[in-house]
Amino acid sequence: MSAAFQKRIEVKDLRLAYDASEVIHGITFDVYQNEILAVIGPAQSGKSSMLRCLNRTIDFTASARWSGSVRVDGEDVRRSRDVFALRRKIGMVAPLPVGLPLSIYDNVAFAPRCSGLTRRGDLDPIVERCLRQAALWDEVKDRLASLGTALSGGQQQRLTIARALSHRPEILCLDEFSIAIDPVTTMRIEDVLKELRRELTIVLVTNLTQQARRLSDRTLFLWEGELVELDRTEVIFSEAARSQRTRDYVSGVFG
């Protein structure tokens, strides 16, 4: 089987509950190499929670209990020997831009340093590559020592993307990345994603249906924890969509 159709992530019957209330009711889907999979759905559908199960950051929420199987490259994430390596394989971009209270350089060098790299000779090219890939290099190359938290919201979100790229992930997950940034920066980041899909597999959680339409190959519609429909994007956004709910959601009847 060619690499293009290799399964990177396999999710089978994933269920997630916070304390007594279940938020994801058994969803099953796969993510293929080099595709952009958009996950759309109204707020509180479980989209963000699902992402956090992929890289096991759900572990940090004490009230969360999940069942089912999540395999990344065939390995069950629950039995993963090195959960930190798993988190480095999967890059995660959160909704709110978060610049760490370190210098811009240290923000991007943080993950490589955690992996054991310490020499400037090793770190410098990584920092430059990631900032270039995140379309931030030109704006900050002269002030790499300045504080990451002093950047604007749009810049901090691109810094977050640079950070997410700094540990050479093979899968990139973005959780509603455009919520707190302006449309111009959003367009720039969308261009970045189009570039990155050549190397990476991208899972894009978004509440902007048009963004999903612009960027993704396949779209998954999640509604109140249920997987309503998963198909090629052009099918989801057309009359050919199997579920009436899908058609209603993408056409804005509810949202």
Binding site: C114, G116, D122, L123, I126, R129, R198
Partner: protein, 311 residues
Amino acid sequence: MNHDGSTPDALAARPRRPAWAVQGERALEALVRLAGVSAILFVAAIFFFVLREAAPVLVKDDFSLAQFLFSTEWYPTSASHVRYGTLALTVGTLSVTALAMLIAVPFGLGAAVYLSEFCAPRLRETLKITIELLSAIPSVVWGFVGLTVMSRLIVSTTGAPVGVNVLNGGIILALMSVPVIVSIGEDALKAVPDSYREAGLALGATRWQLVYRVLLPAARNGLLAAVLLGVGRAVGETMAVLMATGHAVHIPGSLLDSVRTLTANIAAELGEAPAGSDHYRVLFLTGTLLFLITFAVNLAADFVVRGIRRR
């Protein structure tokens, strides 16, 4: 070569953290966990070691726990008839604490209300710093103030024979407890959501009506916790009451009578009691009693505070 033609960087080799870093981190995390449970260890240790020194006297035939707790006759050094009754000391503690709270609670809560609701921000910062400084004054300095300043004041205004008595101790303790009540009380009032205030103002209430009709009831739990913690501080206070309340071990008849508290009694007599003697062990038993009393008060305060957090 990468997709875009660039040379692979150091990350491509999938570097690993050096073994010493991983082991060092594991050791550090073990240390952290140990430190975390140390608080339990120390509380248990305090109870254990104090009780350990006291225990031998509990099993002696001529010692009665009932007499220890409920008799007012404290004659530890009597040649003929030794008695260890702590009731007078307990009443001494209670009377001084009660008087202190009678003064400190209204003033403390009043000041907390002022700071939280009526005060200009600049003035509030200054007052809060003053309160912090007030709470930093060591208890022996307070005791000294009670012994000198307050004593003279009381003698000159009330004509009492001695200036070190319940009144003196009560006032000094009140001054010591007020900062605790103010700071926790102010926190409790600040924790009441602004929406309560806005709703009240929208209905035409003045600030004052807002306070006694809306805010005080809403902050009830936190204010109660503040008072309880103030009580805990007053009951546990040693040096200040040692110097300010006098030396008489009896149940006070009036505010102007000298008394002795449980805490002060230990401090006053421990130096004289030979190590290992019954007197020495009874003093440790008094310490155990004090530990249990303050433990109960703090537990109560914590339950009350937990009641707030559940809301």
